[in-house]
Symmetry: C4
Subunit: 218 residues, 4 copies
């Protein structure tokens, strides 16, 4: 299970996978990974599944209040992803090793179930085995995940995401209503594992609601 | 992010992708791209995911009132796609660089939500982040997309599509009831990005309707 | 669009594709193709997506009342697909060049809509562009496809399938309730195109029913 | 149809396939195969679709009351899958050749239909052709599959799974409420075939319920 792939290559490979999962279509979503050299992050507004390693930015991992570029793509038309300050929340507040941003339709729909008007709220889930893939959660625990309201520009989410992270210190995800979800982990494997578990749980909640069944055992 | 793939090869590659997305099954749908040499377009009624570069027509890009063939496939059984005049609408009226025609089931179903009887209408969507992938649209804007009635033959859609484009100058898509959608962009990347965003939004509207939930934040 | 692939290889390639589409899981379903040498057909009860060209039987194409083996797989444990007499119906009654048998869940569910008790019936569809991919059908025509009752053994379907084909001479498909669908064409390309169009239409009928919307424009 | 692939390679290949089917996301689920050398099993908590052959454990196949390691991965951070005692149930009580554990959302949702509160129960299905892919089941038989309650730790399922297997000697699957399903067979091909058939049947039951239709012909 050793993975010696360079981080820029890994980001490109994972983005192709995430595209297949429906997480990063329409240039949305993506993943940032922190390595010994710094923080790797994709450009803004590009087709995530067609990126090449040379398109990835390397930012200073010690300056987490702003973007200090260590290595930029040669293409001068590119800009750093608008998700940068949100990814940095997870690096700064949680010491994360990787952050995934997904536009999965299941995140969008599950958020609507718990916050029909798009205001801040809380998603709850209980009794599903896949909860055990999340840090510190058992399958009979009640999982609670914060939902924050969307904003016109992605960077404007920074403060409300940070506040939600403070309010839910045991949770490695913040849902954005009408938008998607941010999930992180101590490394890219845990971030991906948790993102897959959340996606499964979001779908399970939506499908059970449509079946007229409680998904939560009582 | 430079893509030096010749356009006929790119069309074949994208059609394989679109087949996987469910946009071009049963020989329906496809993509046309405009390059310096002219307009590239697929043959009619062929399996889009199995096309080879030598199957693609090259048409004169300066004669947008009719098809002037510059290079035809060697297979004499082939004919130019019936979508040709519809693709040319986008080239002529909008100076598009590429046009995608999708038979996605989400386009079909979303159109039924807003036009149950198949007559001309308007799809509306509001409050979803993926709207930001569309030219000039913010996530809190109300997106309005024209729906035109289907016709027995594809070419008969030409005038009503052109009229809908005139009526919605800020929108880069026309939905055809019971049929699918045409989406274009200044180049193939923007056309594809917008087509993916529309597909996501169409699905979100359908899924939210099935959940008994408003997808539009109020 | 010339395809020089040997037919056994093509059958294996198409079965991998059909597996991805959900048509041939659990060893069910498959495709038979008629070539100049005779009729190619898969073994019974094997994983269709993992077949190799040497697993394919070659049967005499002139003896359509029974299976005359011209070339058998070297593996003596294999038997000819139980679908053989049903495929031969299409070769004998329609001069087909290829027959696809799909267990798609959309065929199963659409059949239930029109025949909830699994008895013989008729599926109807109208107003969808993808109907135009079917031989002799326009998008405003009302498509009518026979549904026959399932039997304990596949070969027992032979007579009722043949009778349904006689009763619906303009239709290139027979649906089997609780089971799936048989679709054929003059060659494998038309058979595949028609099978894809049917699958799309079956799904559209099911999804529209679930949305509480008429799929048929009135 | 001869498959000379070494078992560790086959396990990795099948796990990539199962990941695509949605059976083993978030490190959950997997497959164990018994060969002449012993029992091959994956590590615990790893990304199943990214495993390499050298990550697979080989356990003694004659000591079915506990895990006797014959060959361990070189990575000392790995542990044997928590499913080990559950896989061993099938090896010990049924002489199975392979066992699949799937977290498919269809298993989860179908279980809820028959056991809304997550308590032990029984799933029933009747009248679907795909039942014929299951050992000893005809398409008009009523299939009955035991559902056991989930537990906080996977190994705690061992006794209730064993009891359900005793109570249903003709059935090669045990569903775990809120969790997934275990399916086995005399070899990996039958285990996979049966797992695919079950997944199809689970989905058919869920989809029919959502359509307001009986899936069981009466």
């Amino acid at each position: 299970m050793t993975d010696a792939t360079p981080i820029p290559d890994l980001i490109c490979e994972l983005c192709r996978l995430f595209y297949g999962l429906g997480w990063v279509s329409g240039t949305g979503g993506g993943i940032s990974i922190r390595g010994p050299e710094g923080i790797f992050i994709a450009p803004s507004g590009v087709q995530k599944e067609r990126m090449q390693p040379e398109d990835i930015y390397l930012l200073d991992g010690d300056a987490l209040d702003r973007a200090v570029v260590r290595r930029a793509p040669t293409n001068p038309a590119l800009k750093i992803s608008e998700c940068r300050p949100l990814f940095f929340n997870a690096y700064r507040q949680r010491g994360a090793g990787a952050v995934i941003h997904s536009h999965s339709i299941w995140a969008l729909l599950a958020a609507r179930l718990f916050s029909p008007d798009g205001r801040p709220g809380e998603l709850r889930c209980q009794g599903i085995e896949m909860q055990k893939g999340l840090r510190g959660v058992g399958c009979f625990d009640t999982l609670r995940v914060p939902i924050i309201a969307n904003t016109a520009r992605e960077a404007e989410l920074t403060d409300s995401m940070a506040a939600a992270m403070d309010a839910y210190p045991d949770v490695d995800a913040v849902i954005v209503a009408g938008h998607g979800v941010y999930v992180w982990g101590r490394d890219w494997v845990q971030a991906k594992t948790q993102a897959e578990c959340y996606d499964y749980l979001f779908r399970a909640l939506v499908e059970a609601h449509r079946m007229g069944l409680p998904i939560v055992a009582t």
